[in-house]
Point group: C2
Chain length 101, copies 2
């Protein structure tokens, strides 16, 4: 068996914390989340206006945040409304809090 990080047994908490941290590890994604915290929800288009980045790039960042569980999207035709995923947000907060004790 090839020796990769996947074969190391980490505590679930460490893995989950690293997963959240990784999602937070880009200034654009921090900015997106700060924006969402501020006004609870927003549309992809809003962000495209705010950041000088291509629509596809913003979409990619949103996907990362969604995959990490930090946000969720609701269809709100013809737009998609993104909000903080409050449950996972609480989990993340607790994990970081515990980590920094």
């Amino acid at each position: 068996m090839k020796k990769t990080t996947e074969n190391i047994v980490f505590k679930d908490d460490s893995k989950q914390l690293a997963r959240f941290a990784k999602a937070l590890g880009h200034p654009t994604r921090i900015a997106i989340l700060k924006h969402l915290e501020h006004q609870s929800c927003c549309f992809t288009g809003d962000l495209v206006d705010i950041f000088p980045l291509a629509q596809s790039t913003i979409s990619q960042h949103l996907k990362e945040l969604k995959d990490a569980g930090l946000i969720q999207g609701e269809v709100n035709p013809p737009k998609i409304k993104y909000c903080i995923n409050k449950e996972n947000w609480k989990t993340a907060k607790a994990l970081f809090q515990g980590f920094f004790e």
Copy 2:
């Protein structure tokens, strides 16, 4: 001018937070930091024993943590003692706390 993230103006806090988060974005580095929190300091060799990773890989992770400012190394011949950088740790803690409010 090429349009890259570097040309976007982020708040310093967002950049710093993303920087810390990125450093925390790998389970091995989380585990290293948890280990350091536990026993305040350790040597590279200790970690090489704990993790089934090559010495050079551990060294690389330590460098990342050092570059992000989360740890610091003191020469303690013939070994090098790594400790949490308490000042920056406090900063990181405050930034994450503020972020999750």
